[in-house]
Subunit: 151 residues, 2 copies
DNA sequence: TTAAAGAGTACTAAAAAAGTACTATATAAT
DNA sequence: ATTATATAGTACTTTTTTAGTACTCTTTAA
């Protein structure tokens, strides 16, 4: 579902400033119409990333540029807060072996790093076919570091 | 399940060089005996991380030190290769909108970074209660960088 | 020889995810 | 105003995945 959401957003971003309806997105993406419809209305209701226009010639439109939408935004919008294990962050109550859990806050660190990674990638990065192009884009130095790590 | 696996491995590492049976681990962890049994035999069959001894006084023992077991090893042993989306790496056939998929190899980069993060953490790091202690441990410079990123 | 412990497999149940269908609401064009 | 078109919202069904359980077989130490 999150995959689909990202694909839909990519398509919308490739036709920015224009309302694109669910059927067009379905055809472009190969995702079934009903699924596209479901995902788009979900995104609209859960975020301000997309605005919708009803009625004839209606459709969906992104409110931000592709470079301003980070992967983590979409993932967390679809799946809720990122957490690898049950007892990350606020979820400590659900950890059955609470007192015995000596892992404590260490998961949080790992989690934070992964969030960081996902945060540093935008939809624009995903759509870009030149794997190195974001080296010379206007990205923060934090992001540049991550690129070094890729090797 | 992967959570459980990590907890079991942590317990084993706290009693290294000694065979610990499933029941002990169940009691220590709070995880039900049958689940502990299931996980441990799974780990034995899928990796060489743990060796088992049958019969009286039998049990399980780690083959490596906690600092030598990375989180990614356990996660990928339990869940298979890490991939956020369906069309990462070898999975390109399963991506329905293959030709239309303009995301191509970009997911792989993100994936690689996340693997990298998880690779840089060991069971020892997880068990360590001092959040900064791995700064002065014998870890690679690559890992040190990751710590910086945490702030 | 016996009791204890893991190995392997098959089955069941529960939870999550995905997909579908239907009704309501809004909008543009006529 | 009316109609056609498009999204909003919700409820339901199906499928898939995950988790948990039970049983039989094999190994090992006392």
């Amino acid at each position: 579902m999150t995959d689909y959401a990202i694909v839909c957003i990519c398509i919308l971003s490739s036709k920015a400033n224009k309302f694109v309806n669910a059927q067009e997105i379905s055809i472009e993406s190969g995702i079934s119409l009903s699924t596209v419809q479901k995902i788009l209305k979900l995104i609209v209701s859960k975020s301000d990333l997309i605005i919708a226009l009803r009625g004839a010639n209606g459709g969906y439109k992104l409110t931000k540029k592709a470079s301003e939408i980070s992967i983590i935004d979409i993932i967390e919008m679809m799946d809720g807060p990122l957490s690898i294990t049950a007892c990350v962050d606020g979820n400590h109550e659900k950890c059955g072996s609470r007192k015995k859990c000596f892992l404590e806050g260490n998961w949080n660190k790992i989690n934070l790093m992964i969030r960081n990674t996902l945060h540093s990638y935008s939809i624009a990065d995903l759509m870009c076919s030149d794997p190195m192009s974001f080296l010379y884009n206007n990205k923060s130095s934090e992001d540049e570091f991550n690129i070094m790590e890729l090797r």
